[in-house]
């Protein structure tokens, strides 16, 4: 295919020419001139630009809220795009909108369209929802006026089910979306957007255009475009290759396709550890988790990404792919230095194999932030202890925020060997010399990293009567 295609207000929209780095919000406000969707921060942290994308899913349509400001226009290829402008039909407000009015849930109103769309997507999950579900759903939507209570009430009143136009038209919409098929390549060799529909085609294309920017969720690249104003003339998008996002449970380990989003991985990670799914709930917010991928979080080499320390502690193996050739490495070896990863141009982060903790292993992880939800870690620690005869016989400890890369605490790991968790509690973590920045001072990072180690040891020691975490 050589044109972008998506469904909008029941019609197929086809766009043959566009700058590859056009953002969806820019398209909505400047080209389509739909002004309902707002720009609050232009970096995916406030949710004012939340729109909903529909993806075909077994004869139904799966609706997910995403941030339009850090989503490429072209990422909506093959999807249905719904914005706040579309919800009221025939002069009647959508139940979610009516609930917001009834609960007095808007004041200045600028964030409101984003909240409406987040709640709209929650309603389409069609399940009995709790207050916690609503709170989690809107954690990525900032409101500076209301204090959220009325918005949460509106969510509780309107999100248990969605018996609306979109729900009823699902099967038909699914068919229309399924019809948009094949490898997409719009542009020419100098400027293009490509979205291969299989992982093999994806790997080949990346090898052909090693200079291209590989985009998965665009939650990071979006900032390069919006904030650093870095033009991205050649973009290869991984999201159209469904087999690139596969998660396979092999019994003793999970095999996670690099393109799997946080949302996709949630259930599988929950099987490894409740701490891990708890961690996932605190990475970004639902808009970001619907877009951002496990592979992207590794490939961008962030020293404060939350997944790598957890996966390193679990002993994950990373697979990279260049054309047809594949290589493997321990995940920690991928991170060479700040801003430097062991990835060649044209090479793709391909797959991550994550062993499940064995019966003699205890895994836990924790992150420290200024704000509990949707905040980047000051420190993130992950711990895997192998215990035999009450003694630690192996330890894998990894931290984020403590160095220029996600990193293992190898000295501390060694010091723990042969000790019971109680005996190990006097050990002081001294593997790192962290920096001070806007998230925390070096001193605080060191103290709290040590505290997380000790808490992990307390949990390993089975001090169950002790409340260790808030």
């Amino acid at each position: 295919m050589n044109a972008l295609e998506f469904m909008r207000r029941g019609e197929l929209v086809r766009i043959e020419k566009f700058a590859p780095d056009t953002m969806l919000l820019e398209y909505l406000r400047l080209t389509e001139k739909s002004k309902g969707t707002k720009e609050g921060c232009n970096e995916g942290d406030c949710g004012a630009c939340t729109v909903v994308l529909g993806t075909p899913d077994n004869g139904r349509v799966r609706y997910q809220a995403v941030n339009a400001c850090i989503l490429l226009l072209s990422q909506i290829h093959g999807k249905e795009l719904i914005t706040v402008d579309d919800l009221a039909r025939g002069g009647i407000l959508h139940p979610v909108q009516q609930a917001m009015v009834d609960a007095h849930a808007s004041q200045c109103g600028f964030c409101t369209p984003g909240f409406v769309m987040s709640l709209f997507s929650l309603a389409h999950e069609n399940r009995k929802i709790t207050r916690q579900d609503v709170v989690e759903q809107i954690a990525g939507n900032l409101c500076r006026c209301t204090g959220y209570r009325p918005i949460i009430d509106a969510g509780l009143a309107a999100c248990d089910s969605a018996d609306d136009h979109w729900h009823k038209a699902q099967a038909e919409m699914c068919t229309k979306l399924r019809a948009i098929q094949g490898d997409l390549f719009v542009g020419d060799a100098h400027s293009f957007f490509a979205a291969p529909s299989t992982s093999e085609a994806l790997a080949d294309l990346c090898a052909t255009y090693p200079e291209a920017t590989i985009v998965s969720g665009c939650t990071d690249v979006g900032l390069w475009i919006n904030k650093q104003m870095r033009a991205q003339p050649k973009i290869i998008y991984t999201g159209a290759a469904q087999d690139f996002a596969q998660i396979v449970d092999h019994g003793d380990h999970l095999s996670i396709g690099a393109g799997a989003t946080y949302e996709d991985a949630f259930e599988a990670f929950g099987k490894i550890s409740p701490d891990l799914s708890g961690l996932l709930r605190r990475i970004g917010a639902r808009q970001v988790r619907a877009s951002g991928t496990i592979g992207g979080n590794i490939a961008n080499g962030s020293p404060i990404g939350d997944m790598p320390p957890a996966l390193i502690a679990l002993g994950a193996t990373l697979y990279l792919r260049h054309g047809k050739s594949e290589r493997a490495m321990k995940l920690e070896d991928f991170f060479i230095a700040y801003g430097k990863q062991d990835r060649k141009p044209g090479e793709l982060v391909w797959r991550i194999d994550v062993p499940k903790a064995k019966s003699n292993q205890i895994f836990n992880c924790a992150k420290i932030t200024k704000r509990r939800d949707d905040d980047i870690s000051a420190v993130m620690g992950a711990f895997l202890f192998t215990i035999e005869n009450e003694k630690i016989v192996a330890a894998r400890i990894a931290y984020g925020g403590m160095a220029g890369t996600p990193k293992r605490a190898t000295k501390t790991e060694a010091a723990l060997i042969g000790k019971t968790p109680q005996e190990a509690m006097h050990i002081v973590l001294d593997d790192f010399e962290p920096l001070s920045d806007m998230r925390a001072s070096a001193e605080y990072r060191s103290t709290v990293a040590n505290a997380l180690l000790h808490k992990a040891l307390m949990q390993a020691a089975g001090e169950t009567d002790l409340q260790v975490h808030i």
Partner: protein
């Protein structure tokens, strides 16, 4: 009188538009053909020093760029200051903070303008900036503004000779407004030098005046208009002006409509914030923990220019007593110059910092004496015979004891105090804390002449009403409240009152919508306008029916006198046909208030708003993490004009103040560069920060004792100070580790600051 609209929980007038995305903010307006876009820019390196090189040729030569503006392009006055004339629109020879605007690009699109701005070459002969209050104190320069104090009694001697005394110091952080709609203005040139400026501003009159002064034209040539803001919170009181000036200058230069909308990061870097303070104090008290003297110095980071810092620091002093009587005092302030953005108005306007000091001191005395903090607070409350404030105003409406007593009961304070003590005895890592703190907030601009407002009301011959007034809508529900007032006066349904955008063309010489005064002032002004028209209509009805005017009643869309009745619309038509004007302005100024700053005496506030909150927190003593587990609030709004709107202000104010005191941390580096200039690094509360157990009630009031609009009370700012109970509860939780020792807790109580407080024991 039958109450039809007053006191009803009517929805915000724009609620249905908000939820559909149909409410038009300035960036949503259709752009006329040829509209140009303005991107201001600054030196990326440097916070203080002479501009040694400014090469904008690459910017100018960039495709799509129409003009590049600097100070040289300003026809008349290069200033957008609200007070002292010290805020240049463009820096000329030197910069005084990182982010100070030096030039602006005008281009066909906003994207082109922003990209082109990156091509500038700017060099600064960098000097070491004074970044913090402590830096400013070290510099041997006069303060930005003259220190000021309220003094009574021999404070030093009383404290020195007292057997019970306490001293302390702590830092209070600033706060970014984070209005969801960033700063924006859209200027449309008209005929003969006229200009219409759409601005997201709390102060259209100041926009009008500053644009006129910049262009060197009469104020009458400029019209400033604002239908709504996507949040203001004080951040658009004085600091919307610069962007309006830039849009107007670009429109003036190019002859085309010009829009200036700041990117979020630029907005956070280029605009002022709540003042951060360093507080040092000493106090003496008697053996019952009752204060005998207070000596406090509140030292504010004002930034590089005056802006509104004088009035803000004054208000910090006006609130350093909160609800407590100080027999002797020295309440001093320093207003310090730093090489940071000029700090500005933010909901509470210095009051929150003053009150936080008072409550920290109460908490510290409680910890030191071992007396429960609530008991310490109660013993120090203003009461009969102890009811004159440090600025000489006698309290006439003091209900703080009753508010506290009611909340103490409904929040089960005593029972929970015991439960928490027993939890803390057994929990090694996690500790709970509880605090109940009051709020007393003075209502009126302390610059007395600003307490005035105007309105314009038309009644059309069909009985519908056009309402306009000088107050601006930033989400607080002012427009709907004033419309309720007018509907009430005319006895008609709210839907027949058309709300219209605030514009200097209809109501002139307005004060900013600030100081919580919006409804008090504009509600009265609009009521006065409506009453003038109603009086004319009543006179005409009396003439038609040949009855006394006093017999005419307006209610339920009808006008009646005994058994005679006609619709409001019929009377409007009849009045018009009899050649009587159905249009009137209305005017109001707050009576009684007066203030003599030189002597520090008078009655600066018409009345006070009261409230109290009780908060419970859980902290992690190993990491400093904190969770608010329950909040109870009782707040006084007098007789509520609209309970739904008022509750919204209370809850929203609480959560905004919660952010100021917990998660929101402004971090500047040693070079004076703000490191937290986006929501990725600056964390305002999100939904999960609001406690699930959040109980909010309005105080059952018989109405304001002063003659305010329908005896209501202002509600915009006072609730912001309610979450001080959260911060004090954190102190309470930390001090449970080592009773008797006052922890050193700074605000905001971030995990790092809480852990430091734990380590300070």
């Amino acid at each position: 009188m039958t109450l039809e609209t007053i006191g009803k929980a009517v929805a915000h007038d724009s609620a249905e538009l908000h939820v559909q995305g149909n409410a038009t903010y300035i960036d949503d307006m259709r752009e006329p053909d040829g509209t140009v876009h303005v991107a201001p820019s600054y030196a990326k390196l440097g916070a203080r020093g002479k501009i040694t090189k400014l090469d904008l040729s690459a910017v100018r030569n960039s495709a799509g760029v129409i003009a590049v503006l600097t100070a040289k392009d300003i026809p008349a006055k290069n200033d957008c200051s609200p007070t002292l004339g010290d805020d240049p629109i463009f820096a000329e020879s030197e910069i005084q903070f990182h982010g100070q605007v030096i030039f602006a690009v005008v281009a066909k699109t906003r994207d082109i303008a922003r990209r082109a701005a990156l091509l500038a070459t700017i060099e600064i002969a960098q000097e070491t900036p004074a970044v913090t209050v402590h830096d400013a104190l070290k510099e041997a320069k006069p303060d930005l503004l003259t220190p000021y104090a309220f003094k009574k009694g021999n404070v030093a001697k009383t404290i020195k000779s007292s057997t019970h005394r306490i001293s302390g110091s702590f830092d209070i952080g600033g706060q970014e407004h984070f209005y969801l709609e960033g700063q924006i203005a859209f200027a449309i040139p008209g005929e003969q030098g006229a200009m219409l400026v759409h601005s997201s501003t709390q102060h259209p009159t100041e926009i009008q005046h500053s644009v006129a002064a910049m262009l060197g034209v009469d104020d009458a040539k400029i019209t400033a208009e604002c239908r709504r803001m996507g949040g203001g919170f004080g951040g658009k009181e004085s600091q919307a002006t610069q962007w309006a000036c830039l849009a107007a200058l670009a429109a003036h230069k190019t002859g085309r409509p010009a829009k200036c909308r700041l990117d979020r990061d630029d907005d956070m870097i280029m605009t002022g914030k709540r003042h951060d303070f360093h507080v040092e104090y000493a106090a003496a008290f008697d053996k019952t923990a009752r204060i005998t003297a207070v000596d406090v110095n509140l030292m504010a980071r004002c930034g590089y220019s005056a802006d509104l810092s004088n009035a803000i620091c004054d208000r910090a002093m006006f609130h350093a007593d909160n609800t407590y009587f100080y027999p002797a005092y020295n309440i001093a302030t320093r207003r310090l110059k730093t090489n940071t953005v000029s700090n500005t108005a933010f909901r509470g306007f210095g009051g929150p910092q003053g009150i936080l000091f008072a409550e920290q001191m109460m908490q510290a005395i409680a910890i030191r004496t071992g007396i429960d903090a609530l008991e310490v607070r109660k013993r120090n409350l203003y009461a009969r015979g102890r009811d004159v404030t440090p600025y000489g105003q006698k309290l006439r409406d003091n209900i703080s004891a009753d508010v506290i007593a009611q909340l103490e009961k409904t929040s089960s304070y005593a029972k929970r105090r015991k439960e928490i003590a027993s939890y803390n005895n057994t929990s090694k890592i996690l500790k709970k804390g509880l605090a109940l703190t009051p709020v007393k907030f003075g209502i009126s601009f302390t610059f007395t002449q600003m307490n005035q407002a105007g309105a314009l009301v038309h009644v059309y011959a069909d009985g519908s009403v056009h309402l306009n007034h000088g107050g601006t809508e930033m989400g607080q529900g002012l427009y709907v409240k004033v419309a309720q007032v007018v509907a009430q006066v005319f006895g008609i349904a709210l839907e027949h009152v058309a709300i219209t955008a605030t514009t200097t063309g209809k109501v002139p010489n307005t004060s900013p919508t600030a100081a919580s005064s919006g409804t008090d002032l504009n509600g009265m002004a609009a009521a006065n306008a409506a009453k003038i028209i109603k009086d004319r209509m009543a006179a005409h009805a009396a003439k038609i029916w040949n009855v006394a005017k006093s017999k005419i009643v307006f209610a339920n869309g009808k006008v009646k006198a005994g058994r005679k009745s006609m619709s409001f619309a019929e009377l409007a038509k009849a009045t018009k046909e009899s050649k009587i004007s159905l249009s009137s302005t209305g005017f109001y100024f707050t009576p009684e208030i007066h203030w003599d700053r030189a002597t520090g005496t008078g009655m600066p506030f018409y009345y006070f708003a009261y409230g109290a909150s009780c908060s419970e927190v859980l902290i992690d003593t190993m990491t400093g993490e904190m969770k608010v587990t329950r909040v109870d609030i009782l707040h006084d709004v007098g007789r509520s004009l609209n309970p739904a709107i008022d509750i919204g202000q209370i809850e929203g104010g609480f959560v905004q103040g919660l952010g100021w005191l917990t998660t929101e941390e402004l971090v500047y580096d040693a070079k004076g560069v703000l490191r937290t200039h986006a929501p990725s690094t600056y964390k305002i509360p999100c939904a999960s920060d609001v406690p699930e157990d959040f109980r909010v009630a309005l105080y059952k009031s018989k109405g304001n004792v002063m003659d305010t609009i329908y005896r209501s009370k202002a509600v915009g700012e006072p609730p912001l100070m309610l979450p001080i109970s959260v911060w004090c509860a954190v102190m309470d939780a930390v001090s449970s580790i080592k009773p008797g020792v006052v922890p050193k807790l700074n605000a905001p109580a971030t995990p790092e600051n809480i852990l430091r407080a734990v380590q300070s024991l």
